[in-house]
């Protein structure tokens, strides 16, 4: 109920259309109720009063009532649509803004599909509630109540008999509507599963073929598809029961009215016109009774959809501007970690970082080394506040990063993430993603620095080439160079490169490193690295293990000490020495 109250409040933000819609609804219903009455008296006029003049007046009135009903119906439908679409629009915007601002901690735990379905199916569910539950419901109640009242005035016993089935029919259709909703949710879920199977199969087309897993995949898909089909049939079966039994009820009621009303007509206690009125009223009641199912349905759908939407809207991002947060300005890039500990889920998860302290002076290069899951990425993610520390603090130029606005902080920190995401837009737009209004010449310059330009120049459309769907048309190495170009364009005093040179071929990497050496001058740089050259040139190497710094120093110092670094150096760095000269991982052939 609380949820429905909130949705109603959203609709009530537009009181004028809301009230007007209700006014139209009232009027349209009143005129609808008038029509059977006019038709009934027309029958009596023709049969009993036999007055041509009255008949003509009645005919004109019928047209007038029809016209009024039509006009008011227009207003009701249009305003209802306006209102419900407006609420949907506002919710969608609110959701989008929230999702855009919620920190990594939230997004780590959510699947894209789940969030999408909240912003699409659930918004639609709430819209449906506004349109059905808030507005149409009034019409249903008024029509059924009004018709019952008018008929009671005519003949209490016959009315009771004729309308006795309505509560029953309304109850049945409600029960079925609920069952239908359950089944539809199930159908949707199954369809979602089908989508996942399909999507993963298509994305992994090469792997499926390489392992000869086609039959396995087919069985998986067919099993789900069969379930979709049988569940859909069940939904249709319920639908069939529902519509058939409503028709049955109405026809049976007509038969009853005909029999009992007819006896009264024969006995002279009722006019033929009144009997006709009964039958006409029954006809116009079919629609609202059918609708009760939808109305009740829209309530429960509104509750569950609303809950899912408000759950997101009510999530407070753990990472947000503090009240009174000030603008950081442009920093020198003096970064300090002071006894930093971190665990996910707002500090409730298992510890990921324990008591990390180090300092990077402006212009220095800090390299982080460690096994997967040792916490290297987490360390650098704390600098632009993708997460907040659980204990300790991170400062830049002496200011706690939590005391400044996120926007001003992130302007100072450029990060090339490990998993390069490309937007389906042109290469130019992708490079300029953080600075959409930058002159093209600067985009080219950044691309040149990142060793991306030569590749782009070979494309038929150059910088206007569209890279779609997570950049399927670019190789891993090309994507990484693009990500670096993207960051370079920001010109940040602090630069973070998260493993980003790992799948660039040796030659490119060499050029890239030279370029970066230029770029890094005057910038504080953090590199997650497993390259000897990077480690050799770093001012500070931090060796992480299970979230702790087990060793620190320069490469030259560390190779002398017995410990993890020396092991790694002997096992991996040394034999690696320099990578195979001509190989180009990820840069697919035939391009």
């Amino acid at each position: 109920m609380r949820v429905l109250g909130r949705v109603t409040a959203l609709a009530w933000r537009h009181p004028v259309p809301f009230l007007l819609a209700y006014l139209c609804l009232l009027g349209a219903t009143a005129f609808a109720l008038l029509l059977p009455r006019l038709l009934g008296s027309a029958v009596d006029t023709a049969f009993l009063a036999r007055s041509e003049g009255r008949l003509v007046v009645l005919a004109l009135l019928i047209v007038l009532v029809g016209a009024m009903r039509g006009l008011l119906g227009y207003g009701q439908t249009y305003l209802g649509e306006w209102l419900s679409q407006r609420v949907a629009y506002e919710l969608r915007n609110a959701l989008f803004q929230k999702l855009e601002r919620l920190s990594f901690g939230f997004h780590d735990q959510q699947q894209t599909g789940n969030l999408m379905s909240r912003a699409t199916a659930d918004v639609e569910g709430v819209r449906w509630f506004v349109s059905m539950g808030l507005l149409r419901a009034g019409q249903v109640v008024l029509l059924i109540g009004g018709a019952a009242a008018l008929l009671f005035l005519l003949d209490v016993k016959l009315t009771a008999m004729a309308l006795a089935f309505i509560p029953f029919a309304a109850w049945r259709t409600t029960v079925i509507a609920r069952a239908m909703r359950r089944i539809w949710t199930q159908v949707q879920q199954l369809t979602g599963e089908l989508t996942t199977v399909l999507q993963e199969n298509l994305t992994g087309a090469r792997v499926v073929r390489a392992f000869g897993a086609e039959e396995f995949e087919k069985r998986k898909f067919d099993a789900t598809a069969r379930e979709v089909a049988s569940t859909s049939v069940e939904a249709s079966r319920l639908q069939a029961v529902n519509s058939s039994q409503l028709t049955l009820a109405f026809t049976a009621a007509t038969a009853l009215v005909l029999w009992f009303g007819g006896r009264q007509v024969l006995a002279g206690t009722m006019t033929p016109g009144e009997l006709a009125q009964f039958i006409f009223y029954l006809t116009i009641l079919a629609m609202p009774v059918r609708m009760t199912g939808w109305v009740v349905n829209s309530l429960s759908r509104g509750v569950s959809s609303g809950e899912r939407i408000f759950e997101v809207l009510d999530t407070r991002s753990p990472v947000r501007d503090r009240p009174g947060a000030h603008d950081l300005g442009r920093v020198h890039g003096h970064v300090r970690f002071e006894n930093v500990s971190f665990s996910y889920n707002d500090g409730t998860g298992p510890p990921v970082l324990r008591d990390i302290s180090f300092e990077a002076r402006p212009g220095q290069v800090v390299a982080l080394v460690g096994a997967p899951g040792s916490g290297k990425s987490t360390v650098v993610h704390l600098i632009p506040r993708f997460y907040d520390v659980t204990r300790g603090r991170v400062t830049i130029d002496g200011t706690d990063v939590r005391d400044v606005t996120l926007a001003s902080l992130r302007r100072n920190v450029g990060i090339a993430l490990q998993d390069v995401f490309l937007f389906s837009a042109s290469i130019r737009e992708n490079v300029a993603y953080g600075r959409p209004d930058i002159p093209f010449a600067q985009v080219v310059e950044a691309a040149k620095l990142a060793q991306l330009h030569d590749f782009v120049a070979t494309l038929p459309q150059g910088y206007e080439t569209h890279v779609g769907e997570r950049g399927v048309t670019l190789s891993g190495g090309q994507r990484q160079r693009l990500a670096i170009a993207r960051v370079l364009l920001l010109g940040p005093p602090i630069l973070i490169l998260d493993d980003s040179t790992s799948s660039v071929d040796a030659h490119t990497e060499h050029l890239l490193r030279q370029a970066l050496a230029e770029v890094m001058k005057g910038r504080t740089t953090f590199v997650i690295a497993n390259r000897l050259t990077t480690l050799q040139s770093a001012d500070l190497v931090l060796v992480l293990q299970d979230g702790e710094t087990v060793q620190r120093g320069t490469h030259a110092e560390l190779v002398q000490q017995p410990g993890l670094y020396q092991d790694v150096y002997r096992l991996q760095l040394l034999p690696q020495e320099e990578r195979v000269p001509m190989s180009a991982p990820g840069d697919g052939d035939g391009s």
């Binding site: 009645l58 306006w82 298509l202 067919d222 995401f421 993603y433 799948s503 000897l532 050799q536 697919g588």
Partner: protein
Amino acid sequence: MHWAMHGRLGSALEEEGLGKLYDHQVVIRLFKYVKPNWRLAAISIPLLLVNTATSVAVPWLVKIGIDSLLVSRSLHLLGQAALALLALALINFVSGYFHQLTLAKLSQGVLYSLRSQMFHHLQRLSVSFYDRNEVGRVMSRVQNDVVQLQEFLSVMVLSLADLLSLVGIVAALLLMNVPLAAIALAVIPVLFGVMVVWQRYARRSFMEVRRAIALVNTDLQENISGVRVIQSLSRENTNIQRFDRYNAQHLDANIQAGRLSAAVLPVVEVLTAASMALVVGVGGVMSMNGALAVSTVIAFVLYIQRFFDPIRNLTMQYTQVQRAMVSGTRIFELLDTRPEVQDAPEAKELPPVRGEIRFEGVRFAYTPGVEVLKGIDIHIRPGETVALVGATGAGKTTVTALMARFYDVTAGRITVDGYDIRDVTRASLARQMAMVLQEPFLYSATVKENICFNRLDATDEQVVAAAEAVGAHEFIMKLPQGYDTVLQERGQNLSMGQRQLVSFARALLADPCILILDEATASIDSGTEALVQEALRTVLRARTAIVIAHRLSTVRNADRIVVLDQGQVMEEGTHQDLLARGGRYADLYRTYFAAGATAG
């Protein structure tokens, strides 16, 4: 990247244009899917006829009942009419229920076969198809287009029922009284005219709505998936503004469409009322003159009340039919795409092999005329590890792709133990081969399921053994549910290195005779990498392996190095041989060393 456009499916937006109302090819082919279920159709159609007849008969029986009151004044006749009405209601109920049920079974059966057939076909299509068609594009065919057809089928059924009841009502009116029927039906041409004009606007408007929602959803999806980049580049505000623009467009389109839908109401209401008024006026006067029974006027009014819904439905469904024709064309286009790599008609099973591989004069072009491999000869002995080395575009990936038969050679041949791989079934070849790609591909399933993949018979012990062999066991055990931890979309809850280890374990479990490895170790971190290198050595020892190597250690350990350059084999030999030979390998190797020194 292959810029060739042939074999590429059109995108949803490109083909959003108007379809035909009736496309013979599509309808005929769809009909073929109905055929296996013809029994259901044979039951359903008579049921529909009975159902329509019984509902059209209701006003008529009311008329008979009223006649029994006003004309014959017979309680007996009234009772008969009421009972007949009840009987009719029951028949209507039963026929209605079974008609809808059989139809649902029929249409779901058709949809299931279509979906399943499309999916099976997608499994047969070659990798080249996926080079040319983005996943989203293909997905939209299997999903949206099938849904369109689903709606089309239900629309067809409803339209048939609507059409039948219209015919029934017109017939009943004409049978009762021809002049009055003519008067009552006079408004119909007007209504039809209005609806035809209206639906032209409405269709445009509904298409606008669909376009708008597509934009909103695409933008939303991209912003959710790319939220990390967006936040790291502080682009939230720009994107929020852009989304608001799309969202507002969507709102406007919907309000416009709502206005149009609502606009029909006054027209329909006025015309219905006019028709009733005419019947009441003219019919009333006629009945006063004794030319007509009052009951007929009542029956006419009841019929008119039932008349307009079918007409409205019919005109509204026009758009749906058109859309379905487009969808049908698109579905069949996909089904008609021929796989480029197919089992030869008399393809044999490849018997267990020792793993001797020969590339003999292999040439290959992705795009006709642009040769990527220009006559490659490689001989790999059973159990040998061959490292492929070469610059971007040299053809390394292509060599491995041809080995896996993702594509067929343009000229020359590839043999395994003397069998041309085109002469054996793809399945039997795949069974003896495993491949580790650079970008690990993981399902949103448990870690265990990801390692097993299609080897459903693998025991838990085998899975753990494979994971241990590649050094993945330790981190897997640290996951919340160990091997039963469900991986997120594309394994996002694992680091890149971890994902690679899992895909590595998968290849080990498959226990292939031939291993193709696009060396993925590049982004595995220092500590883990040592383990993998170790595991690799053990694994490679027993198998024939082709490795696209990125590591000096891998190259050094390889039995042989094949240096590719511009689609040709430049040099072959061990690391030492090649260095000693002072050829291209040595050349580039030294250049790199020199460069590395300045950088270091």
